[in-house]
Structure formats: structure tokens, C-alpha cells
């Protein structure tokens, strides 16, 4: 069953990404030209493939053959391109995304007010919970914003109380959704 929050500990450094680095010229994936920013190592076909495979991945025995046929390239060529898009870091994951509510889980958005000297410790504690899937620093007095998925509201509330106890951070807002108007994380490249 669902792994308990305490048993799964992931190092946060792996996923840590300084956005300011990416917004400057140092981003290795963007090249500035007279036409503006362009993506290195990517042609129109790569972009079309990215636009195609964000959803409706063929549920069939030879999915890359089917995708290849759509673009008039061979199965092997399609596999090579998708492999490269993964190894170049454009694709984070190829798999299924679920409706957590439909699976019987509950989710919420939380905001915490954390002084800078306690930030690192607080983030480390947060990341020891497997259900915390997204965590951002934002420019606001509530400076840490994270999503929390759990098996029940009670589990999330208990975990938030534990986090407060462990870190001394008391000011955490729990802002569960009342209604969802849209979830669509597909991007047109």
C-alpha cells in the first residue's frame, strides 16, 4: 500500500533548481540570437514530437512505431529522438499522471512563513514527506508554497502539525481546493 510519509526520504538537492540561473544567459539550453531565444539541439520535428507526446501516448504493443508512422519516420528513429529529448532534459518523465482524488487520495496547497535562517531546515523536513510533491519559494511574506497529497485530510493535518513541531514554524496555511476549474499541464512548444 501507500508508503508512509516517514519511510521515504529523498535528498532535496537533486530536485533543487535555481530559477535565477535559468533566467540569465547562463542557461545552457537557450541560445540568444538576433531572432531571440532558441533551443539548442532541437529541430522542428523534435518540437512537434514534444507537442504530440504530452498526452495520448499510444496504448499499444509498439507505441513508438505508431508514433513514428504519424511523423513518417521509423520506429528506431522515433526511439532515438525521444531518448535524446529525455537525456537533454526536455522530458522529465514519460508515464501516467493520475487524478489523485479519483484514486481516493486528497490534496491541498499550503503556505508557510519561514524566516530565512530557518529555511533550509524547514525545506529538508518538508521533503522527508513523500506526499509533498511540489515546493517553491515565492516572493511574499508567505514565502514557501507546497502541495501535499495524502490518504485523508486527517493524515495531512497530522503531518502539518508534526512539521510545525519539528521545525518550530507555526504559521502554515492549509488551503484545500473547493473546486477545480482546470488542470492541463500541456505546453505548446
Amino acid at each position: 500500500m501507500y508508503a508512509s510519509a516517514q519511510t521515504v526520504v529523498r535528498p532535496c538537492s537533486e530536485n533543487k533548481l535555481l530559477i535565477s540561473e535559468l533566467e540569465t544567459n547562463s542557461c545552457p539550453f537557450l541560445k540568444k540570437s538576433i531572432y531571440g531565444w532558441t533551443l539548442i539541439n532541437m529541430d522542428r520535428l523534435d518540437k512537434d514530437i514534444l507537442n504530440r507526446i504530452q498526452s495520448k501516448f499510444p496504448v499499444t504493443s509498439r507505441p513508438f512505431k505508431v508514433l513514428g508512422e504519424e511523423f513518417s519516420i521509423s520506429e528506431a528513429a522515433m526511439i532515438r529522438r525521444v531518448e535524446r529529448l529525455v537525456s537533454d532534459g526536455y522530458i522529465r518523465r514519460l508515464g501516467a499522471s493520475f487524478d489523485s482524488k479519483r484514486l481516493g487520495f486528497t490534496s491541498t496547497l499550503c503556505a508557510a512563513r519561514v524566516p530565512s535562517e530557518k529555511l533550509e531546515d524547514f525545506v529538508d523536513v518538508l521533503h522527508s514527506y513523500q506526499g509533498i510533491t511540489h515546493n517553491y519559494r515565492r516572493v511574499h511574506e508567505y514565502n514557501i508554497w507546497f502541495t501535499f497529497i495524502g490518504e485523508s485530510k486527517e493524515e495531512i493535518l497530522n503531518n502539518l502539525a508534526d512539521i510545525s513541531k519539528k521545525t518550530g514554524i507555526r504559521d502554515i496555511l492549509n488551503l484545500p481546493a473547493k473546486k477545480s476549474f482546470k488542470i492541463n499541464v500541456e505546453f505548446e512548444i
Partner: protein, 155 residues
């Protein structure tokens, strides 16, 4: 549709990475010791019944030039929010839109994640949303650091 133990095993397999090989589903079917056709039809059932929202690639959008990510938060009556949420959802730059509970310390009740190429672009989209929805009280919270971005591991 009730989730069986086999369904949960399948979910565990496909919530991580499919292998980029000619027969990725056959590999999973072998691990689960079921025929490939059974696996394919079970996955199709999970899609048709709304358990799987999307099967495909999740992009690192920042690497693709979509660098600015603003959480816009808005304030309105329940009735205003009903209408505004639908309008916000129609913007292609908005990836997520939710009505959320409020607290004494936090009065904003409608949220829209705006993705753009620049901060200015995000402000411009928010301005257009404000015009279209009539909601005047809003804020954009830009992210300055991404500490964690993963997919949930269920079961």
C-alpha cells in the same frame, strides 16, 4: 470501477518511467506476469474511467523557454469566482485554476497558475484576466526557487 490489486500494481508501474524501447508495455506485463493484451486493456480502462488523467511526457518547461511561473491569487464572492474560474480556465497560459478555502490570514480564494516566457508577459496575462473577469483584487506570486517538483507515488 473498483481498483483491484492488479490495477494498483499497474499504477505503481506506470507512475514512473516507461522504458523507451520498442515494447515498453511488454516489459511491464512480464514483470507483472500477465499477458500484454491484459495490461493494455487494463491501462485503457484506467484512462476511460478517469483514473489516469494523462499518459505521456511531462516536460521540463523551464528548459523549453517557459521561464516565468506566477501563481496568481484573486479575491471575489463565491458567485463571481464561479464565473471568473471558467474564464481563467479558457486562457491557454493558465495551467491550473482552483477555488480554495480562505483563512483569516489569507482572503484570496481563486488561484490561477500562469506560465509565460517573461515576468512582464505574466503581468500582461493577469491584466487581461482582470479585464475579462472584472476581478480587481489580485496578486502575482513569482517563484524564485524550485525546491521540489516530482510526481506522486501512489500505492
Amino acid at each position: 470501477m473498483f481498483l483491484s490489486d492488479l490495477d494498483k500494481k499497474i499504477i505503481r508501474e506506470i507512475q514512473t518511467d516507461l522504458s523507451i524501447t520498442p515494447e515498453p508495455f511488454l516489459e511491464i506485463a512480464r514483470r507483472l506476469d500477465i499477458p500484454e493484451e491484459t495490461l493494455l486493456s487494463k491501462i485503457q480502462d484506467l484512462i476511460d474511467n478517469g483514473y489516469i488523467r494523462r499518459l505521456g511526457a511531462t516536460l521540463r518547461h523551464r528548459r523549453l523557454g517557459i521561464n516565468a511561473n506566477a501563481m496568481s491569487v484573486w479575491m471575489g464572492s463565491h458567485k463571481e469566482v464561479e464565473r471568473a474560474g471558467t474564464i481563467m480556465a479558457s486562457f491557454k497560459e493558465v495551467t491550473h485554476c482552483y477555488e480554495r478555502c480562505t483563512l483569516p490570514a489569507w482572503k484570496y480564494n481563486l488561484y490561477a497558475m500562469i506560465h509565460g516566457k517573461t515576468k512582464e508577459g505574466c503581468f500582461e496575462i493577469a491584466r487581461r484576466i482582470s479585464e475579462r473577469t472584472g476581478l480587481k483584487e489580485y496578486k502575482l506570486l513569482f517563484s524564485t526557487e524550485e525546491f521540489k517538483k516530482t510526481s506522486m507515488e501512489y500505492f
